[in-house]
Symmetry: D2
Subunit: 365 residues, 4 copies
Amino acid sequence: MKTRQRIILSILLVNLFFAAFALGQSRREINFPDILGYKTLKCDLHMHTVFSDGLVWPSVRVDEAWREGLDVISITDHIEYQPHKKDIPTNHNRPYYVALSRAREKNILLIKGTEITRETPPGHFNAIFLRDVNSLDTEDLFDVMKAADKQNAFVFWNHPGWKPEHKGWFDTHTTLYENKWMHGIEVVNGGSYYPEAHEWCLEKNLTMMSNSDIHQPATLLETSPGNHRSMTLVFAREQTTEAVKEALVKGRTTVWFKDQLIGRKKFLNAIFKESVEIGRPYNKYRDSIWVEIKNSSDIDIDLERAGTLGPRQLTLAANATTILRTGIGAKPEDAPAQIELSYIARNFLIAPDKGLPVTLNIRLK
Amino acid sequence: MKTRQRIILSILLVNLFFAAFALGQSRREINFPDILGYKTLKCDLHMHTVFSDGLVWPSVRVDEAWREGLDVISITDHIEYQPHKKDIPTNHNRPYYVALSRAREKNILLIKGTEITRETPPGHFNAIFLRDVNSLDTEDLFDVMKAADKQNAFVFWNHPGWKPEHKGWFDTHTTLYENKWMHGIEVVNGGSYYPEAHEWCLEKNLTMMSNSDIHQPATLLETSPGNHRSMTLVFAREQTTEAVKEALVKGRTTVWFKDQLIGRKKFLNAIFKESVEIGRPYNKYRDSIWVEIKNSSDIDIDLERAGTLGPRQLTLAANATTILRTGIGAKPEDAPAQIELSYIARNFLIAPDKGLPVTLNIRLK
Amino acid sequence: MKTRQRIILSILLVNLFFAAFALGQSRREINFPDILGYKTLKCDLHMHTVFSDGLVWPSVRVDEAWREGLDVISITDHIEYQPHKKDIPTNHNRPYYVALSRAREKNILLIKGTEITRETPPGHFNAIFLRDVNSLDTEDLFDVMKAADKQNAFVFWNHPGWKPEHKGWFDTHTTLYENKWMHGIEVVNGGSYYPEAHEWCLEKNLTMMSNSDIHQPATLLETSPGNHRSMTLVFAREQTTEAVKEALVKGRTTVWFKDQLIGRKKFLNAIFKESVEIGRPYNKYRDSIWVEIKNSSDIDIDLERAGTLGPRQLTLAANATTILRTGIGAKPEDAPAQIELSYIARNFLIAPDKGLPVTLNIRLK
Amino acid sequence: MKTRQRIILSILLVNLFFAAFALGQSRREINFPDILGYKTLKCDLHMHTVFSDGLVWPSVRVDEAWREGLDVISITDHIEYQPHKKDIPTNHNRPYYVALSRAREKNILLIKGTEITRETPPGHFNAIFLRDVNSLDTEDLFDVMKAADKQNAFVFWNHPGWKPEHKGWFDTHTTLYENKWMHGIEVVNGGSYYPEAHEWCLEKNLTMMSNSDIHQPATLLETSPGNHRSMTLVFAREQTTEAVKEALVKGRTTVWFKDQLIGRKKFLNAIFKESVEIGRPYNKYRDSIWVEIKNSSDIDIDLERAGTLGPRQLTLAANATTILRTGIGAKPEDAPAQIELSYIARNFLIAPDKGLPVTLNIRLK
C-alpha cells in the first residue's frame, strides 16, 4: 500500500523530460569538451525546407537545431531542384531571411548557403558563407563554382557515395580540387559513412564534414539520450561566421556519427584527454585496487586492450562513471605507484577501420 | 530512399543508453554542485532486503544504488518484523556483511543500520552507524534507544505521517528529543512529503531526511532522465562514515523529492547559485536583449516573478539552457549596464509552501 | 558473464519500435471498438500548414495522421490569416490538392476544409466538406456562412474558450445556430477542454468535436504508448466523405481527450461494453474468488465504486489485464452464482464532471 | 501561447503507460494468436531466486511474469549450487511453496521444477513437473534422471552452447536420449541462440525450448514495446499443468527469441496465417492498386521476395498496418482479380538460417 502510493506519485513526473523539449522550451546541451584553445561548435551545414524539396518552414530548422543543442546551421536548399515551385516562386535567398530572426533569438549562428545539384558524377555540392545565392543559378558547373569562389564561399562535396553505381573520384573532382574550388567532403551524410571519402580527406587535406541533409521534420528521437543527428564538430575561436569559416578552411573539424568520432588524430586525442578523468584508487586493501573512470562527453568510448594490463574490453559510457578493477593489489609495499594501460579507442577513427591509441594512467597509491 | 536508410541506421543505436544501465555497467551521475566547501553526497539511508520484508538480496541494493548515482546507503531491515524468518534465520547484522564486498567494489559507502519498528504512535525509527544491530533487539523502546545511543548511532523518525489516524508529535517523541535520542526526521519517505515534519525540523533543529524505503526491486525508471528516487543530499567533507555522520549530526542536508528541493535556506541558496549561470547578452541590436541561462543541476527550477522585471513565469530546465527575452533594448545608449530580476524559486522549499527568493543579475552590455 | 552477454544482445532490439514510426513505415492502430453497427473512425478535422500559419508542407499532415492511426483529416488553413503570403501566393484550395495524392496512397480520407477567422467574439469556425474554399473569402461573416451553407458544409465553432476575456455565447452564435449555419462545437481543442461548450452541445443538440489545431510538426510523442493527439471518434457507416458527413450531421461523435472520453451516454456506454471483458473466476478454493478483467481499448478506465461490493477504486489499464479480488469466497455452497458491481467510470464524461454509471457482472461459478 | 499550453498539458500523461507496469498493477498482454485449436501459452520454465544463485525472493518472479504477460513459469533453482546456503538453509521445495499463493492470485500457472547442475559436458538440465525436488539431490547423474523419470518429469538440456570449449553432443546425451530421460533442449537461453541445438531438435524430434534463465531482478525493459524476454510459446488445450505437460511432451512449442520465431513449420505457418490480414484494395483508379496489411502479432515479420511480384523487401511491423503498393493497376479491365505474392519470412526459422515460405493473396477487385 504505502509502497504503491509512493511509486505512483513519483512516476507522474517521469516524462517531463521530454515535455520540455517537445514544447521547444529547452535545449539539450551536447557535451564535448572545448579543445586546444578552441570552442567546440556543433554544426549541421546541410538541410532543406519547403523552399526546395524539404517539408518544413525555415524557422522550424532553427527550432529543431536549438532543441538538439546545435550552435551553427546552414539551410542549403537546392538551386536546381524546386518541386514546390508552383506554390513557392523561386528566390534562393529567401529561406535564409525567413529563418534569420528566429536564429537571432535562439542564438543559433545561421550561415547562408545552398546546394548545387548536378547528376552523379560529379554529384551535389554545398556552397556556404554566400552573400547572394541567386548568382549561382547558372548552367555550367564551373561557372557556378567560380561564382561561389568570387563570394569566398566554402564548398564541399555532398554524400559522395550516394549512388553506388556512379561513385568515385572523377576528373571533375580533380578540376574542382586543383582550382581550390572544393574545400571539404561529407565523410558522413545522415546515416551513411563513406570510408573512401574519409581516405580522400586524409590524402588531399580536405576538411571532413558530417551533416544531416534533413528533409523531413525532425522528431524528438534526436533529442533523446543516446541519439543525435549527424553533425560536424568545428573547433573555432568563437561562435561567429568568420571564426567558423576560418576553422573550416583550416580543416579543424571532427565528425560525430552515431557512436563514432571520425577525425584527425590531434583532435580525437584532445577530445579523449579532456573527456576522460581517472579517479583515486579505492578498495585498496583487497586483492585488487579499483578506480572510477568518468567520461564527461556524450560518446560511449569503446576501448580494446593493446597492451598486457587491464581488461580486454572496456566501455566508458557517456556521461557516466565506469569502474575498473585493475587486477593489481596494493601489496607488496614495493608495488608500482602508477601503471599505464594501453588501449585502442575503436570508435575514435583516425582512418577507416583504425582506432585511436590511448593510454590510461592509473595511480595506485 | 536515401533518407529512409539513413534514419533506419541511426535509430539502431537509440536505446543503448538504457542498455548500459540495465547491464549494471554504467552509473548515472547525479548533477548537484558541491557547496560551501563540502562534497554533495547522494544518500538513501532507508531500504529493505529479504532479511526483513524486502524482496531482493542485499547486494542488489548496492547495484541499484550505484546505477542510480548514489554515494551512500544504509540497509535498514526491520528488527521486529521478519516475515521470511522461516527460511532465513534471524541475524540482524547479516544484510550488512552480505552487501559489503559489493559496496567496496562499487565505491558505495555502506552504513550499518536497522529499522526499529513500533506501533504508531510512536512509529518507526532508523538507527544508523551501528556496530552491532543485535544488541538493539530488546522489548522496551527506550532500552533500544539507549543501546543505539551507546553505539553513538544517528537516529531518525521514519515516515511520521504514514498512518493518518495516528499521526502527530506524541510524548514519546518529546522524550526521545529531550534525551537527544532522536536526531532527525524523514521529511520525505518514498513518494510522500510530510509538511508537519518539515516544520518540526525547522522548529526543533532536527536534521531533514529523505529516503526511498524501497522494498521491491528498483526498476530502470529511477535511472531514466527526469526521474530519481527520493534521497538526502548530505554536505560532507568527504565520502567516509565519519564525515557523513558529522554532516548528519550538524544538520547539513537537503531533501530531493520529485521536482523539489527542501532544506535550509543557506543550502538551497548555495545550490541555486552554483547551478545557474547567466550568459552574455546577445541579439543586442534588436528591440530586446536576450540571454541564455544554463542550469547545470538535475532539477528544473521553477521561477515566479517577485519584482517588476522579467517574464512572470520562468522554468530553468535541468541540464539545459533556457532563453530569456529581457524585454529591454540596448538603446538609448544610457540604458543600464545591468539589471536585477527578483524571483521566487517555488520548488526550492525553505518552509512548507515557501519558496526561496533569488535574484538573476543580467549584464546588458 | 553469461547473463551480461545475454542482456546486452536482447537490448539492441529495444527501440526498433520507435524506429518504424520515425521512418513513417508503420502506423500505430488506435484501439476503440466499432459500436452500434458503425465503424469508429479516428478524425482530426482542424490543422494547419505553411499555406496559412502552420509550419509544414501539407503532405506532412497526411504522414503524421497515418503514423498516429487517424482515418480522416481536414486541413483547415485560415482564409484571413496568411503570414507566409509573401512567399506563398494565396489560393485556399491548394493545401487540399497538394496533400491529396499522399492521402490516397495512405488510405487517409482527406476532407476539403478551411478556418474562418474572426475576432473574438464570435471567434473562429471551421467549414468542412467544401467544394471551393475561395468562395468563402468574403468580408461579412454571415455571407461566409451562407457561402458555406450553399456548399452544404458542416460548420463548427473552434476553441470557444480560447480568449478567456471574450468567451461566452453571443448573439452572433444564436444567429448562426438558428439559421442552422453552425452544427457543432469544439468541446476540445488541442490541450484544452471547454466545459461550457460541453454543456452547450448537450443543451442545443450540437455535435461534439475534438481536434488538434496543430501548427508545428508533430513529434513522435503522439505515437508513443499512453499518448495521443486530441481527436474526434466518429461513428460512421464507412470511411467515405458522405458517411462521415452523415455521422457528423447526426451528432454521432465522441471526444478523446487525454485520459478522457467525452460524449453522449449511449456512445460511451457502448464503448465501455465492447472494450471490457470479464474472465472466468479463478483461485476459487481460497478465501476470495478472483477474476481477470481485460480492457482492449486504448483508454485506462478509471472506476469508482457506486455500490457496496468491490474495491473502492479500480483502474482498468488500456490494452492490459487487471486482476480483481472480489472479496467473496466460493463457500458456502449456496453462495451466489453471479454478482453485480456498480461503478462510475469517472473518465467517461456524459456531462461536465459527471461520469458514466457502469456495472461489472462477475460470474462466481 | 495557445499551442504551448495545449502541448504541455497533454504531455503530463505520457508516461502513465510505464507507471502502471512499475506499480505491478498492469499486465502487458502478449499478442500471438491461438492456433490449430490450441491456446498459445507464454512460458518461461527456467529462472532463479535467492534459494540458489538468484537475487530475488520467489514471489518477485511471479510478479515479473504477470507484468510481462507470461502464463506459465517454473522456478528452477540449482540443486547443487547454493551460494546463499549460509543464510538460507537448503530445502529445494521451498521456492515453489513460497511463490505459490502469489501465483494463484495472479493466475500464473506455477510448475515445480529444478536445475540439475553438472560440469560441462554434460552440463545443466531442468526437470519440471516434479512432486518432490529433494529426491533428486543425489550424486550420480543417471540416478537423478531416474528419480526425475519416476516422477514423470519433463527434462530438457539447458544452454547447450554455454561453454564453447566443451560444447557438443556427448555420450551422456545419447544415454539420456535413448533412455527417454531427456525430452527437449533449450534452443534459446536468455540472449543466446544455439543453431546446433536447433538441428538436434529437428533430427531427434526433441522439444524446442526457450527460457530466460533470469538471475537478476527483471527491469521494465522487458515490458516495453519492442522488447520481451526469451520465452517458449506452448500450444496447449488449456492453462493447466496437465495440458502444458502434454503439449511439451508432444513437442508443440515455438521459440520466441528477440525478433525471431523458431519452430516447426506447421506452427510457424499457423501463426503467420492467423496474424496477417490483408485488407481490401484501395486507390484503385491510379496507376497502382494499394492494400493495407495488418499484423496483429507482437513480432515484426521480415519478408523477402521469393517470386517476381511485389517489393523485394517488406516488413510487416508488429501490431501495426503496413501499406503495400502492388505496382499493378486496375486497368485494363481484364486485369487479374487476385495476385499471389511469394515471400520468405526470414525471421520465422524452420531450420537454422532457413525462413518460412509464405504467400500473400491479394484481391485486386
